[in-house]
Symmetry: C2
Subunit: 76 residues, 2 copies
DNA sequence: TTGTGACTTGGAGTCCGTT
DNA sequence: CAACGGACTCCAAGTCACA
């Protein structure tokens, strides 16, 4: 699976878990509304800069956004 | 700590653990030697595209390259 | 074997909108 | 609230010569 897709799914899941809209997340992360939308659709390879900002808002470690779905349950 | 630095250190450590030169890693990942050098110096925020290629060669999960030093030992 | 400055180009990321 | 498009800007991507 493409890492963009993995990231996209993790991002969407984490955002919805926080009950944030794309717009609210974008605003708090200092990114663009349409960019978050694009990321969740797997359009771009995000840079660490964007990943770091997003992870901060979602209160996650950046690595969590790259993790496979079945890896979260094994951690720690 | 800046995520670029975290990534840079993990990359260098993982590469040296595999006993690969920057040149050898670059070749196998289809990247330029000086680009690997730049990443290991924390010159810029790598994109998922580059991270994915590098992780593949180093036989790691991309998330491992973003992990804090003290997190690796706790995994699994 | 690696670091670095200088360079060009492609894509990350923004901003406007409509559906 | 989200998907999607076009037209931008700017930095990472990628290469080179040289130390």
């Amino acid at each position: 699976m493409d890492i963009r897709q993995r990231f996209a799914r993790n991002l969407r899941a984490a955002r919805e878990a926080k009950a944030l809209s794309q717009e609210a997340l974008a605003y708090e992360a200092g990114l663009d509304r349409t960019y978050i939308s694009s990321l969740e659709r797997g359009r771009y390879y995000a840079s660490l800069k964007a990943i770091e900002k997003i992870a901060k808002v979602l209160e996650l470690d950046p690595a969590d956004l790259l993790r496979k779905d079945d890896e979260g349950s094994r951690k720690q």
